[in-house]
């Protein structure tokens, strides 16, 4: 990802997450799920599934740009830098797959 695109991804994902965090926070403050069935049914709603997917897509791409910046600032030897970025990339992709599995398995 080039500099300008990374910058844009970081900003767009940030605004996305700000809006979704405000929504989730308001929900958990004013109408928290009080039992397992209530929590599962809420998570199984299509709208919440989409919102959660968008949130994690934004979160993981934001983490990629942010941690990548940190690695490039402090890890200078090329081999070490490539290793760190590879671990980061695979780690984030694995988490994305994990979240996808969780969301696909939720049934009311």
């Amino acid at each position: 990802m080039s500099g300008l695109r990374a910058w844009l991804v970081q900003r767009v994902s940030a605004v996305c997450m700000l809006l979704l965090i405000a929504f989730f926070l308001a929900h958990f403050l004013f109408d928290p799920p009080r039992s397992y069935p209530a929590w599962r049914d809420w998570m199984a709603t299509p709208g919440i599934g989409i919102a959660t997917s968008v949130f994690f897509a934004a979160l993981l791409s934001h983490a990629w740009v942010g941690v990548r910046d940190v690695v490039m600032d402090y890890v200078h030897p090329l081999a070490l830098r490539v290793c760190a970025l590879t671990v980061l990339g695979f780690g984030l992709v694995a988490i994305a797959a994990w979240v996808a599995r969780i969301l696909v398995q939720v049934r009311p």
């Binding site: 940030a14 965090i21 397992y36 993981l60 941690v67 940190v70 969780i102």
Partner: protein, 109 residues
């Protein structure tokens, strides 16, 4: 250290904390959706005092990162990018972050 520099490095450090927290958050989400037992286990996690402390630390990281990030976004559109305003908003980020954390601590501890 000038308050702006402190805010910049803390924004970065909280970002790394939050990134490290992602697998734990996904684990709790997974556990809470694995049936009534998993849900009870996830809820019971919050009975543990050490984990409540960790939750408060995570709230501070998140609050700080969101506030400092919003300050950045506003500066991107040229709001408050001159030094006196930037210094004032850096103070606001630090103090509001602390206030939100105290609120979370009062609720959780």
């Amino acid at each position: 250290m000038p308050v702006g520099a402190w805010t910049s490095i803390t924004h970065r450090v909280t970002g790394v904390f939050l990134a490290l927290g992602i697998p734990f958050a996904v684990y709790v989400l997974d556990l809470s959706l694995q049936g009534p037992q998993g849900y009870a286990q996830a809820v019971a996690w919050f009975d543990n005092f050490a984990l409540r402390i960790a939750a408060v630390a995570l709230v501070w990281s998140l609050a700080y990162h969101l506030l400092a990030g919003t300050r950045h976004l506003l500066m991107d559109i040229d709001m408050g990018s001159l030094l006196p305003a930037a210094r004032a908003s850096a103070w606001i980020v630090n103090l509001a972050g602390l206030a939100l954390t105290l609120l979370a601590a009062a609720a959780l501890l």
